[in-house]
Subunit: 246 residues, 4 copies
Amino acid sequence: MKKKAYEKELAELEFELAKLQETVQRKGMKIAILFEGRDAAGKGGLIKTVMRRMNARVWRIAALPKPSDRERTQWYFQRYVAHLPSGGEIVLFDRSWYNRAVVEPVMGFCTPQQHEAFMREVPLFEKMLIDSGIILLKYWIQISEETQERRFQDRACDPRKRWKLSPVDLEARRRWAEFSKHRNKMLETTSTDHAPWRVIDGDDKRKGRLNAIRSILDNIPYEFNEEAFAPIALPPRQSMEEAGYE
Amino acid sequence: MKKKAYEKELAELEFELAKLQETVQRKGMKIAILFEGRDAAGKGGLIKTVMRRMNARVWRIAALPKPSDRERTQWYFQRYVAHLPSGGEIVLFDRSWYNRAVVEPVMGFCTPQQHEAFMREVPLFEKMLIDSGIILLKYWIQISEETQERRFQDRACDPRKRWKLSPVDLEARRRWAEFSKHRNKMLETTSTDHAPWRVIDGDDKRKGRLNAIRSILDNIPYEFNEEAFAPIALPPRQSMEEAGYE
Amino acid sequence: MKKKAYEKELAELEFELAKLQETVQRKGMKIAILFEGRDAAGKGGLIKTVMRRMNARVWRIAALPKPSDRERTQWYFQRYVAHLPSGGEIVLFDRSWYNRAVVEPVMGFCTPQQHEAFMREVPLFEKMLIDSGIILLKYWIQISEETQERRFQDRACDPRKRWKLSPVDLEARRRWAEFSKHRNKMLETTSTDHAPWRVIDGDDKRKGRLNAIRSILDNIPYEFNEEAFAPIALPPRQSMEEAGYE
Amino acid sequence: MKKKAYEKELAELEFELAKLQETVQRKGMKIAILFEGRDAAGKGGLIKTVMRRMNARVWRIAALPKPSDRERTQWYFQRYVAHLPSGGEIVLFDRSWYNRAVVEPVMGFCTPQQHEAFMREVPLFEKMLIDSGIILLKYWIQISEETQERRFQDRACDPRKRWKLSPVDLEARRRWAEFSKHRNKMLETTSTDHAPWRVIDGDDKRKGRLNAIRSILDNIPYEFNEEAFAPIALPPRQSMEEAGYE
Ligand SMILES: Nc1ncnc2c1ncn2[C@@H]1O[C@H](COP(=O)(O)OP(=O)(O)O)[C@@H](O)[C@H]1O
Ligand SMILES: Nc1ncnc2c1ncn2[C@@H]1O[C@H](COP(=O)(O)OP(=O)(O)O)[C@@H](O)[C@H]1O
Ligand SMILES: Nc1ncnc2c1ncn2[C@@H]1O[C@H](COP(=O)(O)OP(=O)(O)O)[C@@H](O)[C@H]1O
Ligand SMILES: Nc1ncnc2c1ncn2[C@@H]1O[C@H](COP(=O)(O)O)[C@@H](O)[C@H]1O
């Protein structure tokens, strides 16, 4: 997709996002949006695009570090629960509890038992959040093996991007097929009526971003509160004298 | 500043930020950067620019909501302390504890006593953080009255930007002079040897952003760890058979 | 029950609690025990008795204050989740999420919709915790109307106990019958196979305490790790000289 | 001290604690009380005695576990700050940030540099808390070498108390003199005008407890709000009919 068309389209969508934001604030809505995908799928860039012009006191990124030794002993969801939205907030999860569906079992960060328990529990967990009034959207950014390879090679060669290749990435790349298997099982098993996975094609980054934003807008009910967007006349400024200075 | 020159310069700086990021991760450094400024100074845009290409698991935004009723009864710094960086993290504060130096007294959100207590305590508080190994940088994004007025008028007229004008903004605008008085006092009193305020001219947004990034790079010791940035040859991918599929 | 018999029995049970404690620490078990009951049922006294001789770094009380304005907008269970046990911990909840089953609807602190949603969700929530390896015990301390009345009258007259009568208590007393109705529904609906309510007769405080402790010991698998309890010979103390002083 | 005299005296003091508690709640005061002392000094028992008849929603114990790997990388005080009192709360610290003054350096859990930094910072940290309106009391429970030895021997022999001897305890016992040196330095250096250490003789447990409670009462301004303690006449109970049942 061409940059110009992209920017134009994006500007339109940003106006819609602003309306959504206003609705969320006014009504005290709670929104959690999960972004998952392979390494180099473009999760980070997508999230930054969504937030580009938005209010940082409404939209928040949750990109959790690996669990501490203490967190490892707790209920798996506990540290994620601490990041759920309060009223009037939208939280964008850059990776999420679904680490335990794909990355963790593939990389050996959890036991098979922990993985299976997660797969059983996660639909209940999400049902509960949704019943409590949280709007939950789940995006899988899909890229082809060729795209990942191209981006990886690009990162491998370009010193400016080299840091993007973590050791975990390289290992995950080696395990592409195992990764696919786990992703498939995740998309099947954890796509429920109340919280379906939505797959975004990430091979074309720009298209993918626009599609993700459109999907967000389609799946969160919002209104155009014209009053809040109506131009206003700003009253004149306070002069220095009025403020009590000479 | 022209877009093209800006983008070129920014790309250079982003490479430096990547080196900084690598150093922070490798050494487990703790960095807290505060961004303050009047409404429409461009804090949010600046923060998003700094993070544009960076790793969300290293760089984190802290844009705290107004305090809850319970938080209001606590030690003022308590809720900010919860957001301080762990080792290997850089936290960008979009507004910070300095709310109590300017916004809160001007808008009547705190008592004069609370304001004064804050002004006395804040140098000690910051000294402690720094002594404990946190690198603390404080930026004031400075804009002229004309710039703010132009941006406000723009937001007042343009439905797409209208939401950026909060009631607090409008009131703060009315109180420009009082705001100036408090800012001056803040810059004087709380600019200490260990944690000086650095003023960034924000009238030209692009220049301001580049200057802020340059200043960050100048004030955090980092190294170019060539090894981490050296191009690598990616090993061939695992085929489906190897992975045990047909 | 007579004090002497009580103290003797209690000492026996405390030895068992020590074995339980040792097991929990050694195996990294996670235990959550909820105590509910009407005002004056003796929840607080019971909890303090259980912990009397135990290690404060293993046993923790969670007696949450009323929710802050921000917490009120969140997922109802969120603030309780923050207090769940890590590995090696036993958390005693003095009142719990079941506030929303009885106190809140009776006192008008939640809407009927919130109450109903809670009643639907709570079995799922608890199932999840249990599946994740948390041992969850729920105690209802039952007292007769006469007992409550006697204790209330006692508190009403005795200046040393007067403070125990909160305005919420007095109102709840007025609503004894409504309270009963909600308690009955709670005991029926939220007593599941995986997390049944256990009712302790609290009319005789001492008996009630012993029974509660016995029930805890019966429902948490623990072992007597003899080695950990075997008497040891303490090596001689370091003298001042050895320590490098004169 | 004889049990009977002790219980009588304690009951008197508990009435005073109830008045204190009422004042704290009514005025929204914030109280933090630190209890430090050697192993077997009786910190835990003292804390439980203070709280014996008090409201668990006002008085809270903070007995922090050893820091997680993530916490170890943070500002040392950060995890303690999370436990500071909100308005209307009294927090009793069973061990505290002073771990870094004595236990940690003696046991090698921190570096000498970390210890020294702590000794420099702690007076500032406490000054800040106090300036913010927190009332901070610090108790050192003093026991003689003989007392510790007797209690240790008792624990070593009695299976019911054996668990109280942690490996850290045994090691600390071996290092009695080093411990003394660090304690002396702590009492000298960190006893400031605004936050002096108060030493309680713990050789006689009962006397020590009464003295500690007396000291708490002497050092927190409270009033006897007679109205809150005046006997009240309870209105008659709601009958079943009134409640709408047959
Ligand atoms: N030892 C571990 N245990 C559990 N999760 C881990 C561990 N190491 C890394 N992870 C998680 O694996 C995911 C992928 O890691 P990485 O590729 O380094 O991050 P990203 O691709 O998000 O930049 C992250 O969510 C990280 O927290
Ligand atoms: N406005 C409120 N909203 C929700 N819960 C409340 C509110 N006020 C009190 N509560 C809760 O009601 C319960 C009973 O209150 P109270 O009788 O004062 O405490 P207790 O009996 O535990 O000493 C407590 O758990 C308290 O947190
Ligand atoms: N590895 C460690 N690093 C830092 N502190 C530790 C470590 N291990 C134990 N501690 C701390 O040392 C103190 C004494 O430990 P211990 O004797 O086991 O507990 P207690 O005497 O309070 O029951 C506790 O505050 C504990 O958190
Ligand atoms: N009632 C309040 N008390 C304290 N701070 C507030 C209050 N209302 C708004 N603020 C803060 O004032 C700053 C400016 O608000 P705004 O312009 O609305 O983003 C933000 O940091 C808010 O958190």
